[in-house]
């Protein structure tokens, strides 16, 4: 009563200020206070729908939104759109600027066109991974004349015709991603470059385009970022076109372009001395001497990734002494990276924030210590498979790199509890990967848990010495964990699961091969971890029907589940598949208690919304073809294992 009276005195703008301060924890406020609900309804700009059942009500409530994210509603269909737009005045469409339809594979071109036409202010659309989309959907998208950003990644059916539609209809496009639109060819790109002259960002990764496309792209005078990962038909000739064109080019990604060589990169660089980002991973076998010479001229370079290239100390030294403004360096799987090279490199690049040394096996404490000394701003360090790393260098990291947020120590067997104690000084850690670090135990984990409250992602894959006590410490310290991998940590029992159930924000949980957990443990998790979206229970053979039943009943936000090798019965499987309304992906291999008929019924029960299912190959001809066809027609992909 008191609080309500206090709130009554606040003016609307003060409410708004308070709301801004609340951050992500607004839910309880709007649930108990009408004023907050009203103010939030009026001021909320973006909304992400988790469950389509509430779509209509939410859109009515939040009618001033600018961003609508339907990426978690693959069930949305043409009919839904017409219902949405016909109900009431549909005022939410008026101001909508950004529409995210990623993975909304249920929507067809008719519904898409109605939706697009209803939103006059639309500036950005994301239809990535709508793999069924083709030219008709592209034509529907082209109705949005004000469109500036469009993401069409993996719209497999879109051809040059569809691209031409968009190019003509959306002449103001500034950002376009065509990754994996495999049907698009040079002709389409050429037309795009003639019609959309404002393009600043273009991604043509994995397209079957040739150097001719680069000739067209070179005419884009405002292009700043150009991504062409895996364009294996493009060669140096194409890069030479770019040398003369695209005067504003700041970033280019030619990684995995097999036909690109050093000479092509040289011509590119010589035309663009102010390049800020260069990604040439996995396309060169080594950097030629002239190319290294060229790199010296890139004074503005901030990001360079040369994964998989043979490098020498000299090359690293050249980069270190010349590219002073380097912020990110990717040397993943590079051959020839030595301590000496790294030391010479980081002595120049003291602004480094991200350093990827994955699989640089000859790196040892000396190099890491120098990195820690020279780069106090380091935010992300990846040292996967750097076996020679020990607690000594971790000590230096904990001493100097207090901004460190992400550290990958996967498969670094030198890391032990002492190392984790040193590391826990990096209190801003958000992501930590300790997979295969078999020497760490509950004690080390407790150090991390006590000192790193921001941790959201922790990988303890096969850390076999971790047990329930470690989880107890972890769940009391790292309350914000969202992703947790405990696969094959066999010591964990139902008690550990009980601790895990205290993690309110947990969304991804991998429990693969935990042979000691039973239905009781799973039940605790299912009831408490309401945000759980991705659950891997493969080979958790002690979990029986009752455990799966509680999952089916409580874990309504579950999107992916792996139940392979689990002891689930026909009936519970059927119930689970039918009752989990948001389930999109399930892996159902070797379910010993499930009959073919049971599986059939289970699949029928979810065929309206399931998008991906993994089944045993031997069942291919035992399941009814009618059901398989229906699944296919509803946009579900079946992987036969």
């Amino acid at each position: 009563m008191l609080s309500e009276s206090v709130l009554c005195l606040l003016t609307e703008d003060l409410f708004i200020r308070v709301l801004e301060k609340l951050g992500p924890d607004r839910k309880p406020w709007r649930l108990v206070c009408k004023e907050f609900l009203r103010v939030e309804s009026a001021t909320r700009k973006s909304i992400r729908i988790l469950r389509i059942e509430f779509l209509v009500g939410l859109l009515k409530k939040f009618c001033n939104i600018e961003t609508l994210d339907l990426s978690l509603c693959p069930r949305i269909e043409d009919g839904v759109v017409s219902v949405l737009l016909s109900q009431g005045s549909a005022s939410w469409t008026r101001g909508l600027r950004r529409l995210v339809l990623s993975r909304a594979t249920g929507l067809g071109h008719v519904g898409l066109e109605i939706l697009i036409r209803a939103c006059p202010m639309l500036e950005a659309v994301d239809v990535s991974h709508c793999w069924g989309y083709g030219d008709r959907e592209a034509a529907a998208l082209s109705c949005a004349a004000r469109l500036r950003e469009l993401n069409m990644d993996k719209c497999l059916g879109v051809t040059d015709i569809g691209l031409a539609k968009i190019a003509v209809g959306c002449g103001k496009l500034e950002k376009l991603s065509l990754k994996w639109c495999l049907e698009i060819s040079d002709l389409g790109i050429d037309l795009l470059c003639k019609k959309c002259l404002d393009l600043k960002f273009l991604d043509v990764s994995y397209l079957k385009v040739t150097s001719e496309s680069l000739r067209s792209i070179a005419s884009l005078s405002r292009l700043e970022v150009f991504v062409m990962v895996g364009c294996s038909l493009v060669d140096d000739v194409g890069l030479r076109f770019l040398e003369k064109g695209c005067p504003l080019l700041k970033a280019i990604d030619v990684s995995r372009c097999d036909c690109v060589s050093s000479s092509g990169l040289i011509s590119l660089i010589s035309g663009h001395g102010d390049l800020e980002q260069l990604d040439a991973g996995n396309c060169l076998s080594e950097l030629s001497a002239p190319l290294v010479k060229c790199l010296e001229n890139l004074k503005q370079l901030r990001i360079i990734r040369i994964d998989g290239v043979r490098v020498s100390d000299f090359i690293l030294q050249t980069i270190g002494t010349n590219c002073k403004s380097l912020v990110e360096l990717g040397l993943s799987k590079c051959i020839g990276v030595t301590n000496k090279g790294i030391m010479q490199l980081v002595s120049g690049c003291c602004n480094l924030k991200i350093l990827d040394l994955t699989c640089c096996r000859f790196i040892s404490d000396a190099a890491i210590t120098t990195i820690a000394d020279s780069c106090p701003d380091l935010v992300c360090l990846k040292l996967e498979s750097c076996d020679m790393v020990t607690e000594n260098c971790i000590y230096q990291l904990g001493l100097n790199c207090l901004l460190l947020e992400e550290l990958d120590l996967t498969d670094c067997s030198g890391v032990d509890d002492i190392a984790l104690r040193y590391l826990s000084r990096c209190s801003k850690l958000v992501r930590l990967k300790l997979g295969l670090c078999t020497n760490i135990s509950d004690i080390g984990l407790a150090h991390i848990a006590c000192n790193c409250p921001n941790m959201t992602e922790l990988d303890l894959y096969r850390c076999v010495r971790i047990g329930d006590d470690g989880l107890a410490a972890l769940t009391s310290g790292c309350k914000r964990l969202r992703k947790l991998n405990l696969s094959y940590c066999n010591r964990i029992t139902d008690r550990g699961m009980e601790y895990i159930s205290h993690l309110d924000e947990l969304s991804d949980l991998e429990l693969r091969g935990l042979s000691n957990i039973t239905s009781i443990g799973i039940r605790a998790v299912a009831i408490s971890c309401q945000r759980l979206a991705d659950l891997d229970l493969k080979h958790c053979e002690k979990i029986d029907d009752s455990g799966f039943w509680t999952l089916a009943f409580y874990s309504q936000n579950l999107r992916q589940i792996n139940m392979s090798y689990c002891a689930v019965s026909d009936m519970v499987l059927c119930f689970l598949m039918g009752n989990l309304k948001r389930l999109q992906d399930s892996k159902l291999v070797f379910l010993s208690k499930v009959t073919v008929t049971g599986l059939e019924v289970a699949l029928r029960a979810c065929c309206g919304r399931i998008k991906k299912v993994k089944l045993q190959r031997s069942l291919r001809f035992l399941l009814s073809s009618e059901m398989l066809e229906t699944l296919h027609a509803r946009g579900c992909k079946i992987r036969w294992d």
């Binding site: 059942e53 509430f54 059916g157 039918g578």
Partner: protein, 509 residues
């Protein structure tokens, strides 16, 4: 040497020597043909494009010196003073030129009169004398014509420089050869005087026995299987005016189904060869090898002026009166051009029933490709090739490619059209909002169940699943499809309240 004086003297001598044979002149004419008019004409051609027929045009000319026709081989080839003067013309010079032309035309007319008179005379004179006279006359005639042409051609200052840039010198010399050829060793044969005012051709030749009809000349070289694009091919030919003669057929002649007529019985033929075959029936004199041979084969080796054709439709670019006249190359071109441009399109494609043509060959070509034009623009234009469509779209603002209705290309396995169909068939697109589907058996039971969630197995017995024989599941294959998964039912029944603390506002992040 004073060019003008020399020229006049030359002319006077020639016209005065028409009756009396002058050996000196004749040898002079035949001995130096390549260089005779070469320089003068060439320089004109360098400067002017030939868009209209020479005589009729009343266009500005240039100074006297331009009509100089040096008859000496040692005359400097590059007479730059000449060409530079050409650039600026003055009206008085033009007047001079025109009066020169007038004089020449008079001479020409006199000559023609002379010829006509001579032909009317009975053949009483000694044969040799007649031949000699004819040779002289034709030689004179030719020289006058060439002078006429060159002067008239130089009167046209319209398109300067272009010729110099585009036409290589070699081709001009070739053309000059065409003009000069009448001065070859047999000047009497194959020279075709030109009556420009009528644009009809006199066939003056040694074969006096042939009928002197216009028909023969016009029908000459008529072949049905000419490439039909010829009309377009000669687009950039850029022949200088006067380097060819212009023929104009009348509309009736162009559209006549037959172009070769028997002079005896009047029967018409499409091909001259057929006519010749026909003629055999009219008497033995038509059966001689000479009569049966192709007529122009006989004269094939003879030099003649290049022929070009004019369209009779006034205002047409192919009409000789048009400012930017572009002549047609062959009679077939004339026919095709006239039909395509100035006639109704009477042939309709039997496949698409939309495309119409006035030339049968065009229809046949179209029918070969009709239906294969699968690339369609929003403006309705179809293209046989994708790149052509994209070129078109790039060119025109607002045009987009059209997506054909039965487009299954590339998306057959994708859900789009088929998907809807199957979904409907399956019945999962469930439009009954009002009431929950009766078969929605799982969810209501779930709600009832809240009380005893602690014992899940109880729930199962209440669902009666155990009584259900899985082997008989085929009996109710429809059930799962029609349950709450119906696309819309969730919109209405948006209140699944599960025990786990779910609420409507918990569904956004």
């Amino acid at each position: 040497m004073d060019p003008k004086g020399g020229l006049c003297a030359n002319n006077c001598r020639r016209s005065s020597s028409l009756t009396a044979p002058g050996n000196g002149l004749q040898t002079n004419l035949s001995s130096d043909p390549p260089s005779f008019y070469g320089i003068g004409i060439e320089s004109h051609f360098n400067e002017f494009d030939p868009p209209s027929p020479p005589i009729q045009s009343v266009l500005p000319g240039q100074s006297d010196t331009d009509i100089e026709i040096p008859d000496q081989e040692n005359c400097p080839l590059s007479d730059s003073s000449n060409t530079s003067k050409l650039q600026d013309w003055n009206p008085s010079a033009m007047l001079n030129n025109l009066s020169f032309l007038e004089e020449k035309i008079h001479q020409l007319r006199d000559l023609v009169h002379l010829i006509v008179n001579k032909k009317c005379q009975p053949i009483g004179q000694p044969h040799e004398l007649v031949t000699q006279e004819q040779q002289l006359i034709t030689a004179d005639l030719t020289s006058i014509i060439v002078q006429l042409i060159s002067t008239a051609g130089s009167l046209l200052p319209s398109v300067r420089h272009t010729l110099t840039n585009t036409n290589p010198l070699v081709s001009q010399i070739d053309q000059l050869h065409g003009i000069n050829l009448p001065f070859g060793p047999e000047p009497s044969s194959g020279i075709r005087p030109q009556n420009n005012s009528a644009n009809k051709l006199f066939d003056k030749s040694t074969q006096n026995d042939l009928p002197n009809t216009c028909e023969m000349e016009q029908n000459y070289n008529m072949e049905e299987h000419e490439p039909k694009d010829e009309e377009d091919v000669d687009e950039g030919e850029n022949l200088p005016p006067g380097s060819y003669e212009i023929l104009q057929l009348e509309k009736e002649e162009i559209l006549a189904p037959h172009t070769h007529f028997c002079t005896i019985c009047g029967k018409g033929f499409k091909r001259d060869a057929n006519l010749r075959m026909h003629m055999r029936g009219h008497g033995d004199e038509y059966k001689t090898p000479a009569a049966l041979a192709k007529p122009h084969k006989e004269t094939g080796s003879e030099p003649k002026l290049i022929k070009r054709y004019s369209c009779p439709y006034s205002g047409c670019k192919r009409n000789k009166d048009h400012k930017k006249f572009q002549p047609l190359k062959t009679i077939l071109c004339v026919k095709n051009h006239y039909k395509r441009t100035h006639c109704d399109k009477s042939y309709t494609c039997s496949r698409c029933n939309t495309k119409k043509f006035s030339v049968m060959a065009d229809l046949k070509t179209h029918e070969k490709h009709c239906g294969k034009d699968k690339w369609l623009c929003s403006c309705g234009t179809t293209f046989s090739r994708k790149d052509k469509l994209f070129g078109h779209i790039a060119l025109f603002q607002g045009h987009t490619p059209a997506i054909p209705l039965d487009d299954t290309k590339g998306v057959t396995e994708l859900p789009d059209p088929q998907n809807r169909e199957i979904s409907n068939k399956v019945g999962s697109v469930n439009f009954c909002f009002g009431s929950k589907p009766s078969s929605e058996n799982l969810v209501p039971n779930m709600m009832d169940m809240k009380g005893n969630i602690d014992d899940p197995m109880n729930y199962f017995s209440s669902l009666n699943f155990e009584g259900c024989n899985f082997g008989a599941f085929n009996e109710f294959p429809q059930t799962p499809f029609e349950d709450a998964e119906g696309s819309f039912s969730f919109l209405m029944s948006g209140s699944f309240k599960f025990g786990g603390g779910e609420s409507s506002s918990g569904n956004l992040q």
